[in-house]
Amino acid sequence: MTRAGYRPSSELVPLVLAGSRLAIARMISRAEGGYAEAEDALAELYKHTGKAHIVGITGVPGAGKSTLVAALIKALTQDGRKVGVVAVDPSSPFTGGAILGDRVRMSDAAEANQAFVRSMATRGHLGGLAPATLQAVDILDAAGYSPIIVETVGVGQDEVEIVSAAHTIVVLSPPGLGDDIQAIKAGILEIADIHVVSKADKPEASAAVAALKGMLALGAARSGSKWTSPVLAVSSVSGEQMETLKATIAKHWTHLYESGELAERQRNNCRTRIFNTARHLFQQQFDERADELEQHLQAVVKREADPQAAAHALLGWNKERQK
């Protein structure tokens, strides 16, 4: 049923391109809600994307991501940049509700007219982002925002989905979390293009910087890149090194561009996105066929069928296909 007052997504497209905040915000909601009606409009907007520098900011809960983003918005808007931010916080696994608190730290900067800050709940998605995060980035990109900062939920050691969502990855490590063995483990620290130690005003910060530098001395994280990930200690409170961080982010972008790594990274990001979208649609399809799933489930529980066969049946694969 078409609701009274509902504005078709196709009408929002030119408004988004013209930078209307109301239209941008509404379009993001429709992407989040998975509105079938919005699919063509999102496809149309996608044609206008690919211009923005997308910067991912990730780190453990309480590392200082939101505070850092706030400081960055301030520094970047002062340069006259139109800064977009998508900040992800977790949804409750029990009720689906969420408290999105990133804005509390960002409000001064976010309410400046050149920034657009959108909070997003994970809505059950694992990996550090929300299902519609990339679509929100597209919408901001099409509307002329750059850079676009994507702030992940507070992550653990292995939620590295941000890698395929951004051009430049900033991994934020608060001081005092571990020794140099933590630093040489695989996972989140490997994905950093720029390492930032937060809370540089605290005395333990220099030890964290040393541990990270020690890790990097053992070998470059990403093979094939000429970029060496720097380690910066910043304080969002005192503003210490914020200008350096801003300059380093810009320098990484220039590096990607001039070295040709940008094209490669964009290709990889698009590939991952296609797979992830396909996986998401699969999942949705199964959710819609809950009854069928239940039948297979019962058979598997009773040992009448094995999980592999049930999966094949769900996918509609026949015996020939399996061989």
């Binding site: 049923m1 429709r30 009720t95």
Partner: protein, 142 residues
């Protein structure tokens, strides 16, 4: 025609805001938690916001409802300003719910400023949730 149907159910989004010089947000946080537990997505603004900051945030977040908690006694002029700012920014579609310490004799003035519902202090959690759900259900997402 089912074109406006979302694949995942529409989740109600609420901006919980503190307006003006009022440093007490225990109540706002309790309400935020209640709404979260009712399955809503709650964006909290933090303290000491101006009307235009709240409106800006509400637009960017595309919320259905702005819930303002006020304990300072300055509710009449602040809600007037909020209502004016919402209309000026083309965001008159967002519902405004007032809570906190608001004497009944000011209800009429607040309604005139565009406040849709005033929730009294003694309201129970279920009442707050059902009020917001009913308000949003009068229109659905546009």
């Amino acid at each position: 025609m089912a074109t406006t149907q979302a694949r995942s159910p529409d989740i109600v989004r609420v901006l919980v805001a503190k307006l003006g010089l009022d440093g007490h947000d225990r109540g706002a946080k309790v309400v935020a938690r209640i709404l979260r537990d009712a399955g809503m997505e709650v964006i909290y603004t933090g303290l000491y916001k101006t009307a235009s900051q709240v409106v800006n945030a509400a637009i960017q977040e595309d919320v259905d409802v702005i819930g303002v908690s006020l304990l300072s006694g300055a509710h009449v002029p602040l809600f007037r300003e909020l209502g004016k700012s919402l209309r000026e920014h083309g965001a008159g579609h967002i519902f405004v719910v007032a809570g906190g310490v608001i004497p009944e004799q000011d209800y009429a003035a607040l309604k005139e400023s565009g406040v849709h519902v005033i929730i009294p202090q003694e309201a129970r959690a279920e009442f707050i949730v059902s009020t917001i759900n009913e308000l949003v259900a009068t229109r659905g997402r546009i």
